[in-house]
């Protein structure tokens, strides 16, 4: 009899202990704060060229950083504005009907606004976006044909509206001010083009398609003319190589786009792939393709970088924030390149007009 009540008592104690523990766990879950979530690391396979989006990186909505222009009250953008007027760039973005909402939309919400003129090139017209219809099919084998038609369209409609003509993908991020700084030393009447220079197959090298490339007005004229006179072939499955070959045939120079201390400005990948030593394996094609000695680590990339490629929508907005908004207050950057000569003269004149200091930038 006694042992039975003793047993009952023990089970009672056990029960109460377990009940207590379960309940405390429940409460700590209910009252606890959320832990850190590690952000996704984007593992872009360097060999994949625009692998089909599996929906993971699909961003709904858009972010407008320019909504908080009041954070920029003490910012002086006179030089950037001056360059905007002096170095006119028309950007055209290679995209397609399925990518307008997924990718091109985010380009439009970020860097595209800083082009003097921007056009979105698709196989079919979209009046709402708006996108130009090139009347081609879609697909990787159509890229060169789309490129030719796009440049033709630009030449026929906008030749006098710009000095330089930039091609980018809908996953390229471009910093227009840095492109203008680079191009300001050159004359758009010269036959020259710039981008990330690769060395194989073409003697003077050719420019990586994804990193974006920019043609001078003269280069554009010659390129369009080359197809009318059959100097260059229309068919190829490798857009950037075919364009590079054509450029060589028509005597358009492949320019050196590196900054004044030899750092690359156009990048075929996102910053992480270039900045982290060992990210791109030694056996990777990239190491043999680069025209100039390739560098990994901090020396990979100019402070005044012009472009990055394989940029997904989240990274577009991150770059937008990092380049145009977040900054280290009062910091004296190590790399302080000179202003282009012609701009320097104008800036001296501007100094006598202090009212320009608090002016809001026309394009931000």
């Amino acid at each position: 009899m006694a042992s039975k009540s003793w047993l009952n008592f023990l089970t009672f104690l056990c029960g109460s202990a377990i009940g207590f523990v379960l309940c405390s766990q429940l409460f700590s879950i209910l009252l606890g704060e959320q832990g850190d979530t590690q952000p996704d690391i984007l593992h872009n396979d360097p060999h994949a060229r625009h692998a089909d989006d599996n929906g993971q990186n699909h961003l709904e909505g858009q972010m407008n950083f320019n909504a908080d222009s009041s954070q920029h009250k003490d910012e002086n953008t006179d030089i950037a504005e001056n360059l905007y007027q002096k170095v006119k760039i028309l950007c055209w973005v290679m995209t397609g009907p399925q990518n307008l909402e997924k990718k091109a939309k985010h380009v439009k919400a970020t860097w595209a606004q800083r082009c003097n003129k921007v056009l979105f090139m698709s196989s079919e017209e979209d009046k709402d976006f708006p996108a130009v219809g090139l009347k081609t099919r879609e697909g990787r084998d159509q890229l060169y044909w789309k490129t030719i038609k796009a440049f033709q369209y630009v030449h026929d409609h906008y030749l006098e509206d710009a000095d330089w003509f930039m091609k980018a993908d809908d996953d390229t991020y471009v910093i227009l001010e840095n492109l203008r700084w680079l191009l300001s030393k050159y004359n758009p009447e010269e036959p020259i083009y710039f981008g990330r220079r690769f060395k194989p197959y073409v003697k003077q090298g050719y420019m990586s398609g994804g990193a974006g490339y920019v043609l001078s007005k003269e280069a554009l004229k010659r390129f369009v003319d080359a197809f009318k006179t059959d100097k260059c072939t229309h068919s190829s499955s490798i857009e950037d190589l075919a364009l590079g070959r054509c450029m060589e045939i028509i005597n358009v120079e492949a320019g050196d786009s590196r900054d004044t201390i030899g750092k690359e400005t156009f990048h075929p990948f996102v910053p992480e792939h270039h900045l982290i030593r060992g990210y791109l394996p030694r056996t990777f094609w990239y190491w043999n393709y680069n025209y100039y000695p390739p560098v990994e680590g901090p020396g990979c990339c100019s402070d005044l970088a012009v472009s990055f490629h394989y940029v997904d929508p989240t990274t577009m907005y991150e770059l937008e924030y990092i380049v145009y908004h977040l900054r280290p207050y009062g910091y004296l950057y190590r790399y302080q390149p000179a202003l282009p000569e012609n701009i320097r003269k104008e800036v001296i004149l501007l100094r006598f007009n202090p009212r320009s200091v608090h002016k809001r930038s026309a394009n931000s």
Binding site: G15, S16, M63, V323, L326, G330
Partner: protein
């Protein structure tokens, strides 16, 4: 058999009720105090831009040098890759940075805390820092190894704040009656707060080593309780637009969340231009931030700042 299972069940019920009661009591007791004190959420604002323009060139240099920030980073051996990244990146911009480790690690120098309890580590680190450096630094910043911090923006934020006042700043969270600075956003203490904290560390009734009645309380809450006894209260740090400058998340996460919460909308930019911290970064992301913050920029955008900070010697990534 039946009587045993019934007594077991009765026991469980009693245990749960007992536990629930204790939790409720804990919250209610604090709740009553709340109504009496009318506790307000403090907002600290970054200084006014117009005031700053009145400062002269020499004064700017002097002013910039007057902020001496000592950085405390609490690490454990498992954090070694983050530790490496933090060492090579933003901590180079602290006036002094020291790593406080739960145990000695061969690869890197650290101060050995000889415990892996976070609250004990924090206490010991603050005591060590205060005892050794009280005369050399006027602000003390505590960070996690998953954080990226911009010291220049911290100093800008501290402009016009007198370190002989008890400041306790960061991203604050309210838990019942207690408002505390989350360790996930970084914790800033002025020298005065450090003084007061250190005077209480030796008093177990005010600042116990094992806080919390039944289960563990996080180290940042324990710190807040301790500081509260010393009359030091948490204040949320915001810029002139009301945006947090101490962030508990990474930029990428902010963007993803903002977009998923508001599809089909154009949302306002996620974060302050003068952000001091971001958290939840991987080692690679630290290097990318280093490049993005201290190097990558758009040509032709110039700022007239009240402070001047030079790049550190012997560094190639900033």
């Amino acid at each position: 058999m039946l009587s045993e299972s019934s007594s077991f069940l009765k026991g469980m019920m009693l245990g749960s009720i007992f536990c629930a009661l204790i939790t409720m009591l804990g919250h209610i007791r604090i709740g009553h105090g709340d109504r009496r004190h009318q506790h307000k959420h403090h907002h600290l604002q970054a200084p006014n831009k117009e005031d700053i323009l009145k400062i002269s060139e020499d004064e700017r240099m002097e002013l910039s040098k007057s902020f001496r920030v000592y950085c405390i980073i609490l690490v454990k051996p498992k954090d070694v890759s983050l530790w490496a990244a933090v060492r090579e990146t933003w901590t180079k911009h602290c006036d002094k940075a020291e790593f406080f480790s739960s145990e000695n690690v061969k690869v890197f120098e650290s101060v050995n805390m000889e415990t892996d309890d976070m609250w004990l580590m924090m206490r010991k680190a603050y005591k060590y820092a205060f005892d050794k450096y009280r005369d050399q630094y006027n602000w003390f910043f505590l960070a996690r190894p998953t954080m990226f911090a911009i010291m220049e923006n911290l100093k800008y934020f501290l402009l016009k704040k007198d370190p002989s006042q008890p400041f306790y700043l960061g991203h604050t969270i309210k838990s019942g009656d207690l408002e505390y600075v989350s360790v996930e956003g970084g914790i800033v203490l002025s020298i005065e707060s450090m003084k007061r904290l250190n005077s209480l560390l030796g008093i177990p009734e005010k600042c116990p080593e094992q806080g919390g009645m039944i289960w563990k309380i996080s180290e940042d809450k324990q710190l807040a309780v301790c500081l509260k006894y010393a009359g030091v209260f948490a204040e949320n740090a915001e810029d002139s637009e009301g945006k947090d400058v101490f962030n508990t998340k990474s930029v990428g996460l902010f963007i993803k969340e903002a977009m998923s919460n508001h599809p089909n909308l154009v949302v306002e930019g996620c974060c302050s231009d003068m952000a001091v911290t971001f958290n939840g970064l991987t080692p690679n992301q630290m290097h990318v931030m280093m490049y993005g913050v201290y190097r990558l920029r758009a040509f032709g955008h110039i700022f007239h700042d009240a402070l001047v900070f030079l790049p550190p010697n012997g560094s190639d990534n900033d």
